[in-house]
Symmetry: C2
Subunit: 376 residues, 2 copies
Amino acid sequence: MEKLTLPLLLISLLCAQPSIAQDEAPADDWKSASSNQAGKEYPKVNSEGRVIFRIEAPEAQSVGVSFRDSNAFTKGEDGAWYGITRPLDEGFHYYTIMIDGSDVPDPNSMMYFGAMRWGSAVELPAHDQDFYTVKAVPHGQLREIYFHSESTDSERRAFVYTPPGYDQNPDQRYPVLYLQHGWGENEYGWGAQGCADVIMDNLIADGTTRPFIIVMTYGMTNEIRFGGLREFKVEPFETVLVKELIPYIDTHFRTLADQPNRAMAGLSMGGMETKQITLRNLDTFSHIGLFSGGSLSPDDLSDLEAFKAKNKLVFVSYGSREVEDGTRRGGDPEAATEALKAAGINSHYYVSPNTAHEWQSWRRSLRQLAPLLFTN
Amino acid sequence: MEKLTLPLLLISLLCAQPSIAQDEAPADDWKSASSNQAGKEYPKVNSEGRVIFRIEAPEAQSVGVSFRDSNAFTKGEDGAWYGITRPLDEGFHYYTIMIDGSDVPDPNSMMYFGAMRWGSAVELPAHDQDFYTVKAVPHGQLREIYFHSESTDSERRAFVYTPPGYDQNPDQRYPVLYLQHGWGENEYGWGAQGCADVIMDNLIADGTTRPFIIVMTYGMTNEIRFGGLREFKVEPFETVLVKELIPYIDTHFRTLADQPNRAMAGLSMGGMETKQITLRNLDTFSHIGLFSGGSLSPDDLSDLEAFKAKNKLVFVSYGSREVEDGTRRGGDPEAATEALKAAGINSHYYVSPNTAHEWQSWRRSLRQLAPLLFTN
């Protein structure tokens, strides 16, 4: 791999780019992103949260990246194209490279499913990344399974996290969290960019979370897997989840197969699904988690006392940049949480610091939710 | 998605392309490839094994694909670039798109790891594809696990296929096949493009194969995961496999943890690894499978009688296009198999029809090998 003199290269880039003034030179502590493909030096990230990309496109007229406000790419001394972003939030961000008007994945990045495609993303180091870092602790397993769905006439994929010790303790049974992705994402998200298995291994190792099973499946039933969110109807997925997947899990895994030991949570669209499905199935789910996906207030409940008798937990979270003006479409989630609490419901509200509608908010939300589950 | 009048488009493509004469017009029975991302119409494949690609790159000067002898891409009536390949073998092929000299993944393709990168591939229908098609049969699980490796001071990933019924039959123990990928590939290959889990589910469902566990891990120990094959030394991986992974599997899964119930097989480099490691560890492995990765003759055995006393099966396979001239570097695999058989060893040779050094040969090899394992 070719070695570049990075400071020299950057100066030449900066000279060509009026949008970064000389006195705003990026911090020169670039490190290869952890989301790179093995052996790839670029993209690199620095301590300000900037990302520098390197694309080999010798005959291209223009190269760019989908991060808004990012500098146009310029050719470096080695003939490759370089571009630097503005400082980004800690955590995980999808992106696309543009070569002469063509949107393509960055060949240097690992591939993740989001924004309705397998494509590129970059991982920015975070001050709290320890909780989703693979460590030498007992590990659970992330299992890819297929279950038969009568209602959709298909063999459907799900991922099942089983906690450490699952196979060694054949007499133990476990509660289950059904955990949903967002719109334009799929059943791979929580196990890949969501780090759900790693987060759980670490939480269980430090003794703060009770071992439980997590089940992640695709939250839509349209086979082409995209389309407008506005036309989306949750009922076909509700059938798959409640009538087909839950019975499959309860017969194929050692679950505690009753309402007190079954939770549902989801991010964004998955939160909206969680709210609709759990409220219609109070005898199936006792714990509810909404991550950047709406809130729950006493006004949502047709029968507050019935809900109170059956529900054990409501957890609502957002990224701080989503709630900076104090409100969200559909109301103030913090006020809704307080109102639920005043009504006697075990209700929790969490705001992820300095993050937006993005995976870092949702990793942190899972970390906050997990210790609260199945404890009462 | 824009609808194209395909015959018209093709005629305009053909006119511009002297390498396909008018009387060799491709068969007009194009279907979207099964390896496409959800909702993507292109690439399409036809009954001749040709592939047509469609790339949106409005400002590009040139677009191409890495299949040799393929026609240069030309702009279609809709402004996108189109290119058609020569007829390809049935099965699975890696490729790369070139846009103005930049090698990038096709944004329409699912992403697979091979040729040392996550990138594009296309699946051609095959006359025998039923054996690796997901069907409504009892399904096993493909489990992602991490195991601690002292020798490399790392938490290492493996995938473990457990057969249908594994969780429902807690008193049953299973034999284990350790199954390796090729050079430039990784531990994802057999579960993704290799379809190992689907092949096993189907073979077990039709009663021809005994249920067993398959373990797949990364077959090198260089963290950057590439480098010259010539400098490759198998010993560090042998330590990981024999001293670390096997003990982990035998304590974390319900294995039959003895030599008669342990097999190793691999493709290409994985076959070379299998040969070296099994011959040095006759007390660990009883069954040996080499797929496009060398052969085994009596000359390879320092002590034929000792081998005969311990080995239960030798299986060697190639794609027919690899052995068309009757020989392979390192000798004639069929003659070697016959010589082993004459020496009293349970030895099998298989040639995959009309395939080369590619996954279709290896899927078929697994299908042939599996029913022979752990039967005596």
